[in-house]
Symmetry: C2
Subunit: 344 residues, 2 copies
């Protein structure tokens, strides 16, 4: 019997999740096992495509482009306007604000650790950062830029001509190299060591008792780990969490199978304390509200993810899970503002 | 023949002495007198009001506020959106873009060296940076914020409460301390050493021959120095330059005397290569166009500043003046993105 890609994908995720749960379960009470440490430790290197290996010139170019408002049709919005490093590479808004300052339907996801993601966007419609990066630039509601015009504009700025030359040589200035450069920069936007990581390495004082209890709940009673797993605390899957008032079809628009109706990508929990409000529609202002949502098993039963159920967490247990989530937030990486090439 | 150590040393000193005389002589021949050096050298310290002396806590708070989009009514625009350090603390636009992305009537002036200015805004309607800073926050066309709401919002963010406490203690969180903190930060936004400064100090090679000729023209035939004078290259005055197509009354709205009709503040020329386009209405895209404007004595004679006249500069002389202006642009100061306090 031949499995469909969808079912196979879901099965792979489920098995991976199950293995992780088993790993983690075996380590209960006994402190931090080797396996658990491995399960939550950052991979040596984020994957990068063969045709866009990181070089300092590519990262520098991508950083300039990322922070350059001239990438938008209005010359007012840069990638960094919404993916603001001052606000955890997001914007602190319920849902994003786009061209003409119109309010959009989904929250701005953080750029942090997107290097490790298998899918980009809330609905996973892009597979690579290269593909993702050029989307919002051209979306009428977002940066509203015409790509041909942008390429012409960049070609007219000598500083950019030389930066593209150093970064991509004969490939020149094109939609493709713009996407590549931004992706190369975004792969450098990764989380730093959080209290949880120090605790994992053996520093018992790095997480307080509440956070440690929270970690047990996270893997046990609350079963957060069924979706938020591995170093980046995501299964790279899509789930309908039974959120109230959302008519957004989510992943279904990309994969028209019933289980994907209203399903959105599991976001990373790294630096999660910095990226309020939460969920694809920014409906919850605090982490407490998020955990309470899961605790009551969601609000809408239609097409609810099978993993969603009432958790029966006490008030203290909710606090403990939140305290653990806070311990996933490291010192934000320091970033300097690039000096953009100008016409003069 | 073997020289004694003594003679060898004396000879070295003589040669060094001779070199020094030649060096200084040539520098003076190029026009650097003691007085001139003094006239163009940065004052030891920018002035600051007695009730807002700079402290690290004030500067850190002001920096956070400056880059925080939550200061605007939309939560989309920060001071740094238009006064963008990536673009010479301006925005690269002809005229500014404000709330709802409406295009405004005047160009965004740079924040650079505003610490040294006697008047703020193009029409000089604010005397201090403290007063200036809270203007655009509340202007409906700019950041469109209600000040009472902003104060309440900031009071609800624990990180800001503690930052204001460290910076202003009992003064608390108010329009006044918001303005003070932003001003304290802006006083740190000052130009760095430019090629011109190194040349002034005696480094003959810091400016090329064209720039050196440009400096002579700047003080002589072109008489730019009648308005662009001193370390910050401004007289802090207001002038009508005979710009075409400007119906903006400028300073006249503040001081209703005839000479002020259509008059705007003389901007600094520090880092001027970074802040195109030029003039209060951004009408010129390049420095060449600006110098050509002066060369033809302006375009509109009505109420023209008495200093405006045809200059009779040759094409090469225009280039020389531009080359000198480029030599007023130093390495942009490196600035890190602040990490803003969040609700969680």
């Amino acid at each position: 019997m031949r499995m469909s890609t969808n079912i196979r994908e879901r099965l792979i995720f489920s098995i991976a999740g199950l293995m992780l749960v088993v790993f983690c379960g075996s380590a209960f009470a006994a402190g931090v096992s080797k396996e658990m440490r491995a399960a939550f430790t950052r991979p040596a290197k984020a994957p990068e495509p063969a045709d866009n290996k990181s070089t300092p010139a590519r990262v520098a170019l991508g950083k300039a482009l990322f922070f350059d408002p001239r990438l938008s049709g209005s010359n007012f919005i840069s990638c960094g306007t919404c993916h603001n490093p001052a606000l955890g590479w997001s914007d602190g808004q319920k849902t994003a604000i786009g061209h003409g300052m119109q309010v959009l339907g989904r929250a701005t996801p953080t750029v942090l650790n997107t290097a490790y993601q298998r899918f980009q966007f809330w609905d996973g419609r892009a597979r690579t950062l290269e593909e993702q990066a050029v989307g919002p630039i051209q979306a009428a509601g977002e940066m509203n830029q015409n790509m041909d015009e942008l390429v012409a504009e960049l070609k007219a700025i000598p500083g950019y001509v030389s930066m593209f030359d150093k970064a991509y040589g004969k490939e020149g200035i094109s939609e493709k190299t713009i996407g590549k450069a931004i992706a190369a920069f975004e792969r450098t936007v990764v989380s730093s060591e959080a209290p949880f990581d120090r605790w994992l390495k053996g520093d018992k004082k790095a997480m307080n008792q509440s956070a440690q209890r929270g970690f047990d709940l996270f893997r046990g009673k609350a079963n957060c780990v069924s979706c938020h797993q591995g170093f980046n605390f995501t299964d790279d899957g899509f789930h309908n969490l039974g959120l109230k008032g959302s008519e957004d079809e989510g992943r279904f628009a990309i994969k028209a199978i019933k289980s994907m109706k209203g399903a959105f990508k599991t976001p990373t929990l790294r630096d999660v304390a910095l990226t309020a409000p939460y969920m694809h529609n920014g409906t919850y202002a605090t982490l407490e509200e998020v955990v309470e949502h899961y605790n009551r098993g969601g609000d809408v039963t239609e097409n609810l993810d099978p993993n969603m159920r009432k958790l029966g967490l006490t008030k203290q247990e909710v606090k403990d899970v939140v305290e653990f989530m806070r311990a996933l937030t490291g010192k934000p990486v320091s970033i300097t503002v690039p000096h953009l090439p100008t016409v003069n």
